[in-house]
Amino acid sequence: MTFSVLLQSIISGMLVGGVYALIGIGLTIIFGVMRVINFAHGDIMMVGMYLTFFLFTLLGIDPFVSVLITMPLMFLFGALMQKVFINRVLSALPQNQILLTIGLGLIMSNSAMLAFTSDYKILTTSYSSSSYSLGGISISQPLLISFLITCAITVGLYWFLMRTDTGQAIRATAQDREAAQLMGINVKWMSILSFGIGSAMAGTAGALIAPTYYIFPQVGSAFTLKAFVITVLGGMGSIIGATLGGIIIGLVESVSAVTISSEWKDVVVFAIFLLVLLIKPSGLMGKSRL
């Protein structure tokens, strides 16, 4: 294996990792605030993908531009889901919360199937397979754009959670709902806010991945699993952790595919995941806050 092959894999791994990171960030916020493991996360992402798809095919809006529409819409979607369903199980047993999100995921993916059939939808833009070439290394144009968008979002969210009162209130809600209420924090609103943000992130990730991937009702489950790995690796509740986790997973997948083999790369990913958990159960960035 030559050096350029390795370099290529590192670069594309990092870029793909950027999109993973966004999925992870969404999940980490939802977990961080509501202590709910959201098994429907990938399905929310799926909704974002369909949204992007139809905005593109029906209205001709470019996916990267439509993020501006997708994000608020997905926020509302998530907020609604929180208000109608999740809110009712916040004080329930953890297994019930898991199950509720599994149920909601089933509802989402199967409604999508009824509405849009189980056909694969492919979003083709003029740049779907274009790339920049840099000394023999190719850099996918759409991936690069999504990577940059991810970075911007990460920085923005980090600032929001660490530096603003609302952000801190979200964290406080995560740690003790009752105490947060006694501080005058509207915890219901905080939950809605964080589920909304989490969904918006998942939806955005869907939008960003849509031009290079494909869309079908069950697309979510694989990404849900990925999001779990990323958030736990990074430390649940930590935005920086999720970003790091996403990029690491992207890198590990990509590099182990060329150095070990593509069939074992997922085992490598999970093994690293377990290793990190064993050495530092709270994840890479655990404890260090959001």
Partner: protein, 359 residues
């Protein structure tokens, strides 16, 4: 909000209850003598299998509070060991399944040594990760497992003790009895757990690990014990499934989806109770079958309520079939929202209310 209800715990069942139990068990044993429909037997077998899987999970998930979402790993280990031994070494399944059980115990101990250092949601996710590793490994160790191709057997060797032929597995009946016995066994084990030191220790760990630790409970031993019990029976379920279906591959016996299904059974029924998984299976198995085969639409049409050719009729026939997982999802959500303690918990609450009303 936690509520106090004086728990008048029923230790030691009443004579009526015992009688009732005996009658039911006798009826179950007699069932194949009266009902020959293989379809009915098949459904009963799926029901026993579901009970077996659900109750196995219940020991670690329900009683000990360690929500493993990776039980497919044990199911798959049992199934694969049995099938590999059968196809490569010609070891018959009723011997292979014990070896499968042993393999599952080893997997469980490995899982335990990794995952039990973690708590709460971290444990859940770690258990998923381990199961995924097992699945991908099975997929890639093609020499041993035949990878994605799966293992298909045509004939199960007849079960003989000495010269005496017990069964040749030609019909569903032997499978029915095996599944029934396994299901009864796990219920018995659950009963024994609940009424022994194990039950107390498991529940103490579920409630507060640190407190349990300070009361002389060795966490390593007492978390691995339920896991091993659970893995043993789950692997038996896997072995049974393998010889029952005669075909296995990683997507049928090792997927995350299966792990989730296993968890569903006892949560729907009510976790941490003996009968929860049974009730869960009683609800889920017929329900998913009814939805799958679209009997609802069929019934509506056959009963003449809906005209088969009318718009609604066509819609029901064509689309309800597509919608059954959707309905399933809706039911899950409804149960969680309105029966947070599962069906068993709900029934108990109703009973308590009624009692309160009478008093």
């Amino acid at each position: 909000m936690k509520s106090i209800h004086p728990l008048t715990s029923i230790r030691g069942a009443s004579a009526v209850q015992i009688m009732f139990g005996i009658v039911i068990i006798a009826a179950l044993f007699a069932f194949p003598q009266f009902v020959e429909s293989p379809y009915a037997l098949h459904m009963m077998i799926l029901f026993f299998l579901s009970t077996l899987m659900g109750s196995s999970w219940n020991i670690i998930g329900g009683y000990t509070g360690q929500y493993s979402v990776g039980h497919a790993a044990y199911f798959g280990t049992g199934a694969y060991t049995t099938m590999i031994l059968l196809t490569t070494k010609e070891i018959p399944p009723w011997q292979g399944m014990w070896i499968g059980m042993f393999a599952a115990v080893i997997v469980a101990l490995i899982v335990g040594s990794i995952c039990f250092r973690l708590r709460g949601p971290y444990f859940v996710l770690a258990s998923i990760a381990v199961a995924e590793i097992v699945r991908i490994t099975a997929l890639n160790l093609t020499d041993l497992t035949k990878g994605a191709e799966g293992i298909l057997v045509t004939d199960i060797p007849p079960f003989k003790i000495g010269e005496l032929l017990i069964t040749d597995f030609a019909s569903k009946v032997p499978y029915y009895y095996i599944a029934l016995v396994l299901a009864l066994a796990i219920i018995l084990v659950t009963w024994l757990v609940q009424h022994s030191k194990l039950g107390y220790y498991f529940q103490a760990i579920r409630e507060d690990q640190d407190a349990a630790h300070s009361l002389g409970i060795n966490l390593t031993i007492w978390k691995n014990t339920p896991l091993v019990i659970s893995a043993v029976f789950t692997s038996l379920a896997g072995s049974f499934y393998a010889i029952f279906i005669k075909f296995i591959d990683p997507t049928t016996v090792l997927p995350l989806d299966l792990s989730v299904q296993i968890v569903l059974i006892s949560i729907i029924g009510g976790i941490g109770t003996i009968w929860g998984p049974v009730v869960g299976s009683l609800v889920l198995v017929p329900l998913s079958e009814a939805l799958r085969s679209n009997v609802i639409a069929q019934w509506l049409i056959n009963s003449g309520m809906v005209d088969a050719e009318s718009g609604t009729g066509v819609f029901l026939k064509e689309h309800l079939a597509h919608a059954h997982v959707l309905i399933y999802g809706i039911l899950v959500v409804v149960v969680i929202l309105f029966m947070p303690e599962g069906v068993m918990g709900y029934v108990k609450k109703l009973a308590a209310k009624k009692k309160g009303g009478e008093a």
